[in-house]
Structure formats: C-alpha cells, structure tokens
Point group: C2
Chain length 212, copies 2
Amino acid sequence: MPPKVKTSAEKQAVRTAIMDAARELFIHQGVEAVTMRAVAQRVGYSATSLYLYFGDKEQLLRAVVDADVIKLAQALKSTLNISDPLQRFLQFGQHYVQFALTNPNHYRMMFMTQHPPCDPALSSIEQNNPEQDAYSQLIGVVTSAWHAGVFKPTLTDPALIAQTIWAAIHGLCALQINLADDAWINWRPLEARVQAMVEMCMYGLMKETPHE
Amino acid sequence: MPPKVKTSAEKQAVRTAIMDAARELFIHQGVEAVTMRAVAQRVGYSATSLYLYFGDKEQLLRAVVDADVIKLAQALKSTLNISDPLQRFLQFGQHYVQFALTNPNHYRMMFMTQHPPCDPALSSIEQNNPEQDAYSQLIGVVTSAWHAGVFKPTLTDPALIAQTIWAAIHGLCALQINLADDAWINWRPLEARVQAMVEMCMYGLMKETPHE
DNA sequence: ATTTAAAAATAACAATGTTAAGTTAACGAC
DNA sequence: GTCGTTAACTTAACATTGTTATTTTTAAAT
C-alpha cells in the first residue's frame, strides 16, 4: 500500500532504515547472513523493493561499510589533537587496533575482502577530508611526527613509513580476526602481541627509544 | 557409465583430478568461480558425483588449499639449510612473500578468509612436520636465530617474535593482494615497501644492524 | 543367468540475487 | 469530481547455486 509521493527526506530515511537492518545482520552474523530477503523482512518491505534504493547487494553493503568507515575516521579524530606528535602517533595506532578488533566484520569488509576497485569519485567518503578519510589521517600523523624528528634520519618518505606501519598493524589485526581460534597456532596473548608489535615498530623506525 | 570397481588408486586419481579442476578455476578466476557444476564439467562428471569424493564444497576447497599449503612448506624448505641463521631467516621471509604474491588466491584462502575452526587432527597436513607445516618451520627458524643471539636481549620468547614477524609480513602481503589497485591509496612501489618492512623488523628486533 | 552393489547420472529442492510484470493509491488536469 | 498518470510497492518468476533423493548402469560374485 504505497501512500505515494515521498519527500526526498523520507526516501533518505528509508535508505538508512535499510542500511541499519543490513548492518544489524552484518555485525552479528557476518556478511553471509545479509540476504536481500532477510534485510527486507527486517525493514518491512519486500526484497525487490530494496532495489529501488540500492542498485544491488554490493552497493548496499558498500554503503553500510562506507558509513562505518567514516565512524572509524571519527573515532580516530579524537587522537588528532594530542599535542605531542609521538603520543598522538601511539594513540592513533591504539585506537585503530581497538576499532578493528571490536568491529571485526566491518574491518573484514574494509580491508580483508576483495572488492571491485574503489573509485574515490563515486565513494560517499570524501578523500583527504580528515573528518572522513582515515588514511589521510594516518599520513598526517606520520608526517607531523616525521617533521618533529621522531624517525631515523635514513627514513625520508613519510608515506612509505605510514604504509609500513599500517601493514604491520593490519597484519596483527587481520590474523587476530581470522585465526585467533585456530588450534594450529599457539598464540601468545593478544596484549603481548600488540605490545611486541608496537615496540618493534618503534625500535625499528624511531631515532631513539622514548621516555621510559 | 560406471565401469565399476575402482581400485583405491583409481579413486585417488579421480580425487586429485577433481582437485586439479577445482584448482584451475580457483587460481585463475578466484574462489567464486569454483562451483560444483563447473568443476564437474571440467572433470567430465556430473556435479553430484563430486559428493562421492568430497563431503561438500568446503571440504573440496580445503583439500585443494591444504595440498598447496604443503607446497608452501616445501618451497620454504629449501631455505632451511642455509647455515647462517640470519641469512636463513631473511631468505625464509623472502620466499614467504614471493609465495603469497604469486599465489594470491591460495594465500587468500589460507589466511585471509573465514573458516570453520581448523582441527589439526582432521587436517591432511602433519602438524610439526617441517616438511609440511610452514608455521613450525617459522618457529624453528626464529628459534635458531634466537639461540644464535641475533635478537635484542630483551626479547625472550621466540614464539612471540615469530608471531610478530609473521603478522608484519602478512600485513604487507595481505594489503598488496587486496588493495594494490585501490585508487584511494598512493602506494609506494612494492619493492620499496618490502624493503622498508624488512628493515623495520630487523632494526626493531635485532641486536645490531647486520654487515652492510 | 541372476543377484548385488559400486559408480554414476537425472530429478528435484531450497535458498539466493535479480528482473519483469502487475497492483495500489495519491496527485494534477480538465 | 472524474480520470489518467505515475511513484511506490508487491507478487511471479528466472537463473544459479549447493545439496539430497532417486534411479540407472554395469562389472563382478554366486
């Protein structure tokens, strides 16, 4: 029963209702639980109606994840005004790991699964906007630490430093998310692995060990 | 037309034929291309016959990947008799990265996708057999380097060292495999990133920079 | 020759993403 | 006020998937 003529605000509301329903399934049961029919049922529509709001399932999922990518950027934002560049840097990493491990399904979706190549022009995320783009935040944090003379003098490319740190931290998070319960590996406690990784990065990249 | 009574060697041959067909699809078109029907067609059987040889699709895929996990272990084995512990260590890492990046689909399957928790008792891979178990190889390589006094004296747990290095290298491989074409990131050249990662690990973990 | 059971195929089911074809009802035009 | 028009939505339907149930074929065993 279509009460017809929806203002564009109402349409937007339906869109986000769909996204919320999808997110609910997504977070608690993983991406395989997100079927068009299940999402539709939760939102009180028929499955085919979702196609009035999203081109296909991939676009729906992308929209959900994009929205939460922005949440990541906002979670990290709180660390950006720590005045000491080194502390800012460390807190940034800390928050990143925490986001990854408390939102494993989102993290998986962002960085651990194949996607059609992402076209920044089509994304809902504004590239280089530090409010939304966590990668540009990382570049910023590393660059300012670099200007502060924190890194070894042989390291001359902040982007390369950033990509190396990101890879290392990502590896930690990714293995934890996917293989934490793997009986094959006799994992050391997570906290120990985090600390070991942080120390490795610091000793490996920085001029001298910081105050402690 | 079933010519009946297959010797167990013949049955094994069919099994590996199925696995080879699956691998072919898997390698060149990714895991989504591996449908039971497609595999069956390649091997000249009907789809349902595959269930005579594998319990379900997951088990088939697992068998394929397990076989190639053993190949990884054998590729790494060649580095195990390098006499200098440090060189052995470095070559081991080099070969690991090379395997990951030349077999991205296998690597994805091994370490980048969700699995039902792996029970070592049911695996075709023999845990702790250095011929088959790459993880135990890693532990061995790190432990011997540790005994050789290569690492900083504050590092007292070879398993923790190994897990940290693995995570770092894995992060490098995983990001390359999934996000290499992502226009969002202005990636530095792969070689530069590999070298930066290796250097970070070495300066971060080792007592002193090696001969050069 | 008849029976038996292994080896395979065909038919069929349920779930999924998606498209095509209706259905309902609010609005504008006369 | 009646009558299209069309937005908003639903129901049917299709193709593809993994998988099971049922049936067929055929080499061997008796």
